[in-house]
Amino acid sequence: MPPAVAIPLRARTAPKVPFLSLDTVWFQVAGTLCNLSCNHCFISCSPTHHAHEIMTRAEVRPYLDEAAVLGVKDFYFTGGEPFLNRELLEILEDTLRIGPATVLTNATLITKARADDLARLSAGSRYSLEARVSLDGLTPETNDPIRGEGSFDAALLGLRELARAGFHPIITATQTWNDAEDGRLREQFHGFLTDLGLGRPRLKILPLFRIGREAERTHGYAPAERLTEEHMRGFDPWNLQCSTSRMVTSRGVYVCPILIDTPVARMGATLRDTMRPFPLAHGPCHTCWATGASCRN
C-alpha cells in the first residue's frame, strides 16, 4: 500500500457536501497535546505534538459568542486530552450557559476532585454535560498495546470517579476488530462496564480513520477510496456531519474533527466564514460515507 501522503488530492473532481445548518461546534480545546500516544490516533496526538495548541478560555469565548448568535445546538470538546487544558472547567461553565456540552477524554486524568467539579457544573446547568471516555479493550493486555502502558488502569480509576459523581459516561472504542467479531465484542463491552459499576453503560463504536499515526500502524487510503458524484447520488447529506458542524482549533475553523491536519480543511477564521460547501476529496470522507460515522454522541 502506498503511504497516505502520496495520494494526490482530487479536490477539483470531488463532490461537494452542502452546508445545511450550523448545529454542532467542536473545540480542539487541548490542541494535539495528549498524555497518551495511541497508535491508532488519526491526528498523531502526543505529549509533544504541537500541530494545534491548547486553547485559552479567552480564545474560546468569541467562538461561543458567535455560535450563540448563529443558533448552535450543542458543543463538543476534544484534543488531545481536554483535561490537559487548565481552563477546561471554566470553558465548560461558559459553554453550559449557552447549550449542552460533551467532553471527550481518555479519563486517565480524572481525579475525584475533577469528577466532583464536573458534577457541580452539570447540576448548575439546564443542559446536559456528557462525558465520553475512550477505551480500546477490556483488559490491559488488549487496551494498553494500543493506548499505552498503564493507560487501562488509569482510565478505570477515572471512569469509577465519573460513575461515583453521577455520570453515565459514553464509552467510545475505535473498531480495531473485524466486523464478524462486532456483536460479541459489543456484548462483552456492556458486561464489562456494568461490572465496573457503570449502571447504564452507553457504547459508541467509531471506525478507524487511516490517517495520522494509524496510517503508519497499518496503511493509508488507496487512491480509489475517494468519493465521486456517483457516491452522492440519492445520498442524504444530513448523514455527513460536515453538513451541520464545524471544528474550532487554535489555528482557525476546520470542516470537521477528523481533517485538522489537512491544510485545505481549514475553511476560515470565524464560524461564519465556513458556512459553505466543502469538497469531499479525502480518504476519511469515504469512511464517513461508507460507515455512516458521526463524531457526535
Partner: protein
C-alpha cells in the same frame, strides 16, 4: 418519505381550549383515556402529532379512535414509513440495541397494517399551522425541519430552538418524537412545547401517560398525567407476544429499551 405537505387551519375555536397528544404507539387504552380527559376539559380541537403505531398491541385500534373523537393528525416518521412500505421505522437511533427493539416493534406493526390504513396514513399532513391569540402556531412531529429529529429538553439550546422557530416562521412550536414532555418559553419570545407521548409512560416511574392542554388564550401548556388500565394493556401485549421489556415499561413507568439515545440529564432521571 412521503411528504403530503402542510395543513393550514383557521377559526375562532383555535383561540379556545386545545389538546395536543404525541405518539399513541398502538396504546389504544391510553389514547381513549386521554381523548375522554381532553373532551371532559372542554378541548374544542384535539391534535395528534404522529407515530400512531409501534410498541403497543393491535395497531388497528388507533385510527378508529382518532376518527371517533375527530382528532386532527399529522404524520410521524412511523406513519410515513408504514405508508411507504419501508423496511424500517426511521426512528433515527444511533445504537444497534435501540435499533433492534425498534425493528421488533416495527415488524410487528407493519405485518398488521392494512392497505386501507397505509393509504389513510399516506394522506396525513406533515405539519399544521394556525394562528392563535396573536401567535403563529406550528405543529410538527420531530422538529420543524426534520420529522425524525429529537428535541430533548437538556440537549436543545435556547439559541437553537429560537433559530428553528425563526426559520420556520413560527412563534410557538409543538412537537413530540422523544416521548418525554417539556416546554420552554424562550427569552426572546417563541415557545416550544414537546407534548410527550401517549403510547408509553415518560420514564418517571409512574404508569400514567402525559399530554398537553392549552386553556383558552394561553400559550403555556398544562401538562396533564392520565391514568388508564395499564395492566389490561400489559396483558394484551403479552397475549400478542410483544417483548417482555416493553410490557415492563407499561407496568412500571420506567423505560427499559431505546435508552441509549437519552441525553445525560434525561437518562439520570430514569431507572435504567
Amino acid at each position: 418519505m412521503i411528504a403530503s405537505g402542510e395543513l393550514t387551519l383557521n377559526g375562532p375555536d383555535l383561540d379556545g381550549a386545545l389538546a395536543f397528544l404525541g405518539g399513541p404507539y398502538s396504546n389504544h387504552l391510553a389514547l381513549r383515556a386521554v381523548l375522554e380527559d381532553a373532551r371532559g376539559r372542554g378541548a374544542g380541537r384535539i391534535f395528534c402529532l404522529g407515530d400512531l403505531g409501534g410498541f403497543g398491541p393491535n395497531p388497528g385500534k388507533i385510527i378508529p379512535l382518532l376518527e371517533e373523537f375527530g382528532v386532527i393528525t399529522i404524520a410521524g416518521n412511523y406513519d410515513m414509513a408504514l405508508a411507504a412500505r419501508m423496511a424500517e421505522c426511521g426512528c433515527g437511533y444511533t445504537h444497534p440495541s435501540d435499533n433492534q427493539f425498534a425493528q421488533l416493534s416495527y415488524d410487528y406493526t407493519n405485518r398488521r397494517t392494512t392497505d386501507a390504513e397505509r393509504a389513510w396514513l399516506g394522506k396525513l399532513p406533515t405539519a399544521i399551522r394556525f394562528p392563535r391569540a396573536g401567535r403563529r402556531y406550528l405543529l410538527c412531529h420531530g422538529s420543524p425541519r426534520r420529522t425524525n429529529e429529537f428535541l430533548w429538553e437538556s440537549a436543545s439550546s435556547d439559541v437553537f430552538l429560537a433559530r428553528l422557530a425563526r426559520d420556520a416562521a413560527a412563534d410557538q412550536v409543538l412537537c413530540t418524537h422523544t416521548g418525554i414532555h417539556w416546554q420552554r418559553a424562550l427569552p426572546d419570545g417563541p415557545g416550544f412545547i414537546n407534548v410527550g407521548a401517549v403510547g408509553r409512560p415518560a420514564n418517571d416511574g409512574r404508569p400514567a401517560i402525559w399530554y398537553a392542554f392549552l386553556a383558552p388564550g394561553d400559550h403555556v401548556a398544562e401538562m396533564i398525567a392520565v391514568s388508564y388500565d395499564h395492566n389490561a394493556l400489559a396483558r394484551e401485549m403479552e397475549a400478542e407476544g410483544l417483548p417482555a421489556e416493553f410490557v415492563e415499561t407499561i407496568r412500571t413507568g420506567w423505560w427499559t429499551t431505546c435508552l441509549e439515545i437519552l441525553p445525560a440529564k434525561e437518562r439520570s432521571r430514569g431507572k435504567f
